[in-house]
Symmetry: C2
Subunit: 241 residues, 2 copies
Amino acid sequence: MSEVPTAAISRLVTYLRILEELETREIVRTSSTDLAERAGVSAFQVRKDLAYFGRFGTRGLGYSVAILKRELMRVLGLNQTWNVVIVGVGRLGQAIANYPGASDYQFQYVGLFDVSPELVGRRVRDLTVRHIAELKDFVRENKVDMGFLAVPPERAQDAAQAMVTAGVRGILNFAPVVIGPRPLEGRSESRSADGNVLQDSGDDWRGVIVENVDFLAGMKRLAFYTLNPHLKDSPVPEDPA
Amino acid sequence: MSEVPTAAISRLVTYLRILEELETREIVRTSSTDLAERAGVSAFQVRKDLAYFGRFGTRGLGYSVAILKRELMRVLGLNQTWNVVIVGVGRLGQAIANYPGASDYQFQYVGLFDVSPELVGRRVRDLTVRHIAELKDFVRENKVDMGFLAVPPERAQDAAQAMVTAGVRGILNFAPVVIGPRPLEGRSESRSADGNVLQDSGDDWRGVIVENVDFLAGMKRLAFYTLNPHLKDSPVPEDPA
C-alpha cells in the first residue's frame, strides 16, 4: 500500500462521514454507486480507493454500512486513542477544544499551551492552560500523539518549530500559512503546503506530518464556485475531501 | 473551462497561498518546478492547473510572483468584495469572525445570526448578533454573497435549510456533517460531501454551492499519516489543498 494517493485518504475520510450519516438515518446497506453519488466521485473511484485497503463489499450486494464504517475507522486509526495537545488557546483554540465530535474518535486533549499571561493558568474545559515553555517537558513526561496549532499566522512558524523541537510528530495546522523547516538561504526546500512529510535533512522536521485546516482555502473555493457554478455541475474523481 | 476538476481549484488556492508566502519573503520569481515542490504536486500538474485559466508564465523565465498572485486572485474572484453572514456565533463562529486574513481577501462580515438568547443582541466585532428568524429579511435587504455555517452538528441541516430558504446561495459549512437537500424517502439524491452543486429537483437547493471546512477530516488524515508516515513520502498530483 505504498502508492495510496493523499487524495484517496481524504476521500476515505469523506466516505466515513457519509457512512456515519447513513447510520444515523438507520440505512444499513450502501453501494459504491451510492457512496460515489454522495461523495461526488465516480463509483470506480470509490471501489479503487477501498481496494487499497482490502475487500469490504460483496459483489452485487454492496456494503454493510456498519462493517464498512468499522473497517474505515480501523484503516484510518480511529479505533484507538490519540492524545492531543493544543498550542494556541485563543478563540480558535477554544473552539477546537470544544469542537463536537472529536471525542467520538477518541481524540483526547491532554494539554493546552499558550504564551498569553491572560490565558496561562486559566482553566479551559477540564485542563489548565500551560506556558509553551513547558511543552518539551510535557511531551517527555506524557504520551502526546499529535498537536493542533491554533496560534495567529505570524506566530505559527515559531510555534510549530517549538512543537517539533518538543517532540510532537504530527501537527494539524489551523493557521493560514505554510509551516515547515526553514532552510538556510539559497538551500532548496522539499516540503508540501498540503501536508506531505517535511524533509529537510539535518533538522528535526524529518518525518513530521503536517495536515492543514485552512478556513481561507474554503472561503476561496466558495468564492470561485459562486462565480463559476457551472464548473461544479459534474463530480470529478479527484475531488478532494 | 467547463472541465476544471475541483481538485485543480483546491490546488490553485494552495498555489496562491505559496505565492503570498514567497512575496512576504521577498522572492519575486518562481517556476512550475518550485511551486510544484512547495505544493507537493508535479510540475506538470502545476502547468496543467494554470493552463485552464490562461498563460501566466514565460517559457524558460518562469513566473513573476506578483503577477501570478494577482492573476490567481482574479481567477478565484478574490479581487472583489464578498459580503458574508455567519450563522452560529458561539466559540467557533466568533473564532471565524475573528480569523485572521479573511479581510485581506475582502470577505466582509455583514451579519451575524444565532438562536441563543445569550447571544442575540450581543455585539461581536462591530456587529450586533441577530436572531436567525431575521435572516430572510436581512438577505432581501442586503447584498449577501455567502454564508458561513458554524452551528452544532445536530443543528447544521436545519440552519443550512434556513439559509437556503432565505436566499443564501453559497455556504461554507464548518459542521462535521453532510448538509444538503433532504429527499423524500426513497427518492435518490444527487449531492456531494465535497461541495458539488446540490441538485434536488423541486426545491431551493438547486445551484447552491456548499464547501466544507471539517476539522475532524484533518484530524482523521493526521491520524492515518501518523500511523502510515511512509505513505506521505512522495507528493502525488491529486493531493488536495
